[in-house]
Symmetry: C2
Subunit: 121 residues, 2 copies
Amino acid sequence: MNRGDIVDKPCLTCQYNMTILNKIKNEMPDEETINKLSEVFKIFGDSTRIRILWALFDKEMCVYDIAEALNMTQSAISHQLRSLKQARLIKSRRDGKNTFYSLDDDHVKRIIEQVLIHIEE
Amino acid sequence: MNRGDIVDKPCLTCQYNMTILNKIKNEMPDEETINKLSEVFKIFGDSTRIRILWALFDKEMCVYDIAEALNMTQSAISHQLRSLKQARLIKSRRDGKNTFYSLDDDHVKRIIEQVLIHIEE
DNA sequence: TGAGTATATGAACATATGAACAGGGGTGAT
DNA sequence: ATCACCCCTGTTCATATGTTCATATACTCA
């Protein structure tokens, strides 16, 4: 069964006709927005990154200390920090030898909290 | 450089000492919660699933119509619906030949909206 | 009961991802 | 300038994930 077949004989028992389905298609955010959305979620979708974000919840930290707090190698942390920064979930500030990372804005914290509420119900 | 070395000579220029780092470790949610969090985010982290959730934002739909609205095969949609259901982001209701899917609760919508706000800034 | 419709599942394949390792670049102290 | 330290980049390898195709199951109605 492929797409062509389906278009010609729509699901008769279902509630929506082609007009409504097309409306859904059109009201859907554009492809770029959808992709951005899923990319951001993808970045959240890793336990190490969640732990990093959690560690940054109320203070900035340098790479070394994050690695220390999470019991992981500096290299692994650095990779994850890059992902997080590319997704604009964190920002960095250089101070001499150290680079300090902090949450990009409050949304990040709120998003995690929302999901936490969801899973705790 | 490995973990053992680091523990013995902490980053001298950083702001946090071992006591604070241990505090971070202890205040972090337990492993199970962190894992659940990242798993849920992982499920959100796919453009097809985001589009499915979007289609379900204000009404239930059957598999066929979702496939139709998204221009995808029934099989692909069915697989994704299973993931979404396992993560408790959607629920299903059988009605004769059809299975209708809808958002599990309002959090799902709110979570997506939060991230949308974040990326639009 | 058998035909037709709606959905689910399994296997195979391609792609994406995370961790570890090796090496390099920038910074500050001497 | 040189060295030590902090961090980043590129690569490799193992594993995870998404898609497709083929097929199985569930349900309805004649």
